[in-house]
């Protein structure tokens, strides 16, 4: 029947036209979820109702940052100078908003002359890298990848 064929062809054409737009919207949403996960650890998963993962990310990153500051680890700033300082800053900034919370909590400054301070520096950097990994995981999950 010519009418049905025409309708099918129109529907197929509409699907082809709409699909890229829908795909682009999903990509933007996934990216926003990834950024949210970076800004607030666990938020990217919470927005997708992955409560266990959200809580685990929030608590592990939070405890690592808190312990890092309590052990007087070095929290790098943008005025690090050398490449390692900049790398440390990027790692620390990976904790998102927790970086600024750590800055506010770190009233005594760092003390890397002792082993605790050195460990604290590693805790802070590990928290940042872990949060970046979690944000990437949330982004991939939002894109529909198996997670």
């Amino acid at each position: 029947m010519p009418d049905d064929t025409a309708t099918e062809a129109t529907t197929a054409a509409a699907t082809i036209a709409v699909a890229p737009e829908h795909h682009q919207r999903n990509e933007v949403l996934a990216f926003a979820i990834g950024v949210a996960g970076w800004l607030v650890p666990g938020l990217g998963h919470a927005l997708q109702k992955m409560w266990g993962r959200a809580l685990a990310c929030f608590l592990t990153v939070g405890v690592l940052v808190f312990l890092g500051v309590a052990m007087r680890g070095n929290l790098f700033s943008s005025e690090g100078g050398d490449a390692f300082g900049m790398l440390g800053y990027v790692a620390d900034l990976g904790t998102g908003s927790f970086y600024f919370a750590a800055r506010a909590l770190e009233t005594q400054g760092s003390d890397v002359a002792h082993a605790e301070g050195d460990y604290g520096t590693r805790f802070l950097a590990a928290a940042g890298v872990l949060n970046l990994l979690a944000a990437l995981h949330a982004y991939e999950a939002a894109r529909g990848r198996k997670a």
Partner: protein
């Protein structure tokens, strides 16, 4: 907000805390079912500690 005070941990305590927290995060991110997560966390924690202590022992002759 509670301001953290000076917090003292031994080398082993710091390593254990670190290993535990990272293992929990990895377990939750990489596994879906509770049982699988638990197994992954325990196994990862065990390997973290084993390899950490192993590297410590391997470095002992060069420590002084």
């Amino acid at each position: 907000m509670i301001a953290p005070t000076d917090f003292h941990l031994s080398h082993f305590q710091a390593m254990t805390f670190f290993a535990l927290l990272i293992s929990i995060a990895f377990g939750f991110l990489s596994r879906r079912r509770t049982n699988d997560r638990l197994k992954y966390i325990i196994w990862s924690l065990f390997l973290f500690l084993l390899i950490g202590v192993g590297i410590g022992w391997a470095m002992y002759p060069f420590s002084r």
